[in-house]
């Protein structure tokens, strides 16, 4: 295989990322020089301009919390006013600020950064891991996103790929990638459910695998539910306990809070193996009088379950939704695939076993399967004998804003992609030169309960009395799940110019500027 034909598959996770390729027909994860196979999606900025990414950067969370960005994926492609951003602002030690058009920006060491720029640094690190392993440059990649990501989040991820200088061949959904890795080359005829509980997001997809065809029947998810939330519950538990013991609120101390977060994550992970976890945080706080406080406790499994059970239960509500959309029940399923670090927890595994009524498959590694699937898709795309066909769906209903704050459905959720729909619009004023439409994604008739994707202006058609000009607008969702809008005059066949006048995304010049900075940055 020519070097230029190597496609890396990158699982860009909330907490950890992973990179894989297909080598001699086999998908393999590429480790870094220390043998690490997954890499913390953490970016730490240093005063001298150098940037650290990965597991080393994660260690700096404790020492440099204000300039070390974690869980950027929870913010990417969101509006500043969204409840998720408010939640993140309440707990993040780094500074979250508002950018143009209600976008989210981060302020680190006086510099304002976009979320795609931060994610691009993680992608750059993954690319460098692959290049170091292979000994030659790579540029082509397949990226994965949560299946329930909306168009804004997908666009922002695609922007991150461009900023990192990658030629992103395709963006695929994480559960679909997992199913691909599970079923590729196995000649299966099965219905499978992928339960993907990651660091920040939860997805469930129901697929029908027919040999080389992977058809997603339905998908559902929650883009703000994951291992991070489990950590938060433990953190709150510790902080409350410390408060009742000492009357000191550790939430007001960035460094102490970061220590607790770290300990909370370790405690959660320990529950994958243990029934009881001893927690020790020496010198967690030094009070103004110079007295040093330690924190110690023991968490048993019952307490852990009590603290987090409602989060786990939420995932099964989402599963109910997916089964309902697919018109199926758990009895129609042949296999259950668990993906994501938190699925290592007995609490999650046992609940999943109970809900699905069967033993989950143990054939896949929950941390690596998504990257492996992305690598398989990449290799398949460049192969002129493509060996796997993904028939994925759009997770959310595409809507058009109409009068009085209402919206009208254009493409229903769980429609296979790529797909398009055409609507005809008529001018409502004499001599009208421009038609403005707003599009949304979501499941409510009311526009404010949906995510706004953008405002599109069409111009360049005939100017005539009202009602005489028709504009045919085509709404397309491509194989990446990304929405494209185009318009034409059906009479003349001439296409109208389309401008996005409002969107949370980056402008072309912002992407170019960020690309120059990211690609020139030195990662240590």
């Amino acid at each position: 295989m020519a070097q230029s034909d190597v496609v890396i598959g990158i699982d860009l996770g909330t907490s950890y990322s992973c990179v894989a390729i297909v080598q001699d027909g086999q998908p393999v994860v590429l480790p870094n020089e220390w043998g690490e196979r997954t890499h913390a999606s953490v970016v730490s900025f240093m005063e001298d301009g150098r940037i650290m990414v990965g597991n080393d950067a994660k260690r700096r969370l404790l020492t440099h919390p204000r300039q070390t960005i974690y869980s950027a994926k929870r913010l990417i492609g969101r509006y500043f006013f969204s409840p998720e951003v408010k939640k993140a602002k309440a707990v993040a030690p780094y500074e979250i600020v508002e950018g143009p058009n209600h976008a989210v920006r981060l302020k680190v060491l006086g510099e304002v950064l976009s979320l795609p720029q931060v994610s691009a640094l993680v992608l750059k690190e993954m690319r460098e891991v692959a290049e170091a392993y292979l000994g030659h440059p790579v540029s082509k990649a397949v990226l994965t996103v949560p299946a329930y990501f909306n168009d804004n989040q997908r666009q922002a991820t695609a922007d991150a790929g461009r900023i990192a200088g990658l030629d992103v061949l395709r963006i695929i959904n994480e559960p679909t990638a997992a199913a691909l890795s599970y079923g590729f080359g196995q000649n299966l005829n099965q219905r499978v459910v992928v339960y993907d509980l990651g660091g920040g997001t939860f997805d469930v997809s129901i697929l029908e695998i027919g040999q080389d065809t992977f058809e997603v029947l339905a998908t559902a998810g929650d883009t703000y539910l994951g291992g991070d939330d489990i950590d938060m519950r433990l953190l709150d538990y510790f902080a409350d306990m410390f408060m009742s013991q000492t009357q000191i609120n550790l939430r007001n101390d960035v460094n102490a809070l970061q220590r607790l977060r770290d300990v909370a994550e370790e405690t959660k992970k320990a529950f994958s193996q243990k029934k009881k976890v001893k927690v020790q945080v020496p010198e967690v706080y030094t009070d103004p009088q110079g007295q040093v406080h330690n924190f110690e406790t023991v968490v048993d499994h019952d307490t852990f379950a009590k603290l987090t059970m409602d989060l786990v239960q939420r995932t099964f509500k989402v599963c109910d939704e997916a089964f309902q959309s697919a018109g199926m029940s758990v009895h129609d399923i042949d296999a259950v695939i668990l993906v994501g670090g938190p699925t290592r927890l007995p609490l999650v595994r046992d609940s999943a076993r109970h809900y699905f009524g069967r033993e989950p498959s143990t054939e896949v590694d929950p941390d690596e399967v998504v990257a492996l699937g992305a690598a398989i898709e990449g290799a398949s795309l460049l192969d002129d004998n493509a060996s796997a066909f993904l028939l994925d769906v759009t997770p959310l209903t595409l809507r058009l804003g109409t009068v009085g704050g209402y919206s009208e459905q254009i493409i229903p959720k769980n429609s296979p992609v790529p797909i398009d729909r055409t609507r005809t619009f008529t001018t409502s004023r004499d001599g009208q030169e421009r038609v403005l439409i707003r599009i949304f994604q979501g499941e409510s008739n009311r526009i404010e309960q949906n995510e706004m994707l953008g405002e599109f202006a069409f111009a360049g058609f005939r100017v005539a009395p009202r009602g005489e000009v028709q504009i045919e607008v085509t709404f397309e969702i491509d194989a990446n799940g990304i929405v494209n809008v185009s318009a034409r005059d059906p009479e003349t066949g001439q296409s109208a110019s389309t401008t996005v006048t409002l969107s949370s995304g980056l402008t072309e010049s912002e992407i170019q500027g960020a690309a120059a900075r990211v690609q020139g940055a030195e990662l240590v």
Binding site: L390, P418, I419, A479
Partner: protein, 182 residues
């Protein structure tokens, strides 16, 4: 050569199919009988997806062939989406029969939604609409008892019409009653 890497026979076949596409019914697109079962529709979708999936030709440079494939695959998906749901399939069959095959693409929900909205404003039945309009005319004249009778009449024809119910309630609330019955 614009379609590098494609066998000439295949290129010709795809070009013809792309040209014919707008004249084909969804059944013709999926190459199934109009009486095909849901299972047969899905099997056809899988079979054709293998053949016309754009990813199959992803490795080719941008060319008219690729654009044709993309259009064909999107139409295959559209056909599958409409035919897999019994509701939309029945509506499509009706539309196809009524237009004698002249309109082969599923009419957007928009048209139906607009029709429904219009029905809600003016009524579904001729008699209901007429009584409702009469009631509105009486409201204008401040003759609320007459309006009440007209709206009640409208509801005889369309007992479920929320608009009529609301108009009736409004008219009734305006009627001044100066006696009570014991």
């Amino acid at each position: 050569m614009p379609d590098a890497g494609v066998a000439p026979e295949l290129a010709a076949e795809i070009e013809i199919l792309a040209m014919q596409l707008d004249g084909l019914s969804y059944y013709q697109v999926l190459r199934v009988d109009p009486r095909a079962s849901a299972g047969q529709v899905r099997a056809a979708y899988h079979q054709l997806s293998r053949q016309y999936h754009p990813d199959r030709y992803f490795h080719l440079a941008e060319c008219p062939f690729k654009q044709h494939i993309y259009r064909i695959s999107k139409r295959i998906t559209e056909a599958y989406v409409v035919l897999r749901e019994p509701g939309s399939r029945a509506q499509y069959d009706q539309q196809l029969g009524a237009s004698q095959g002249a309109r082969v693409r599923y009419t957007e929900e928009s048209a139906q939604a607009q029709k429904k909205a219009k029905e809600e404003v003016t009524g579904k039945t001729e008699k209901g609409r007429k009584s409702y309009q009469q009631g509105l005319a009486e409201v204008k004249k401040q003759n609320f008892p007459a309006a009440e009778r007209a709206f009640k009449m409208a509801l005889v024809f369309e007992p479920e019409n929320e608009l009529f119910k609301k108009a009736l309630a409004d008219a009734q609330s305006k009627i001044k009653v100066d006696y009570t019955v014991k």
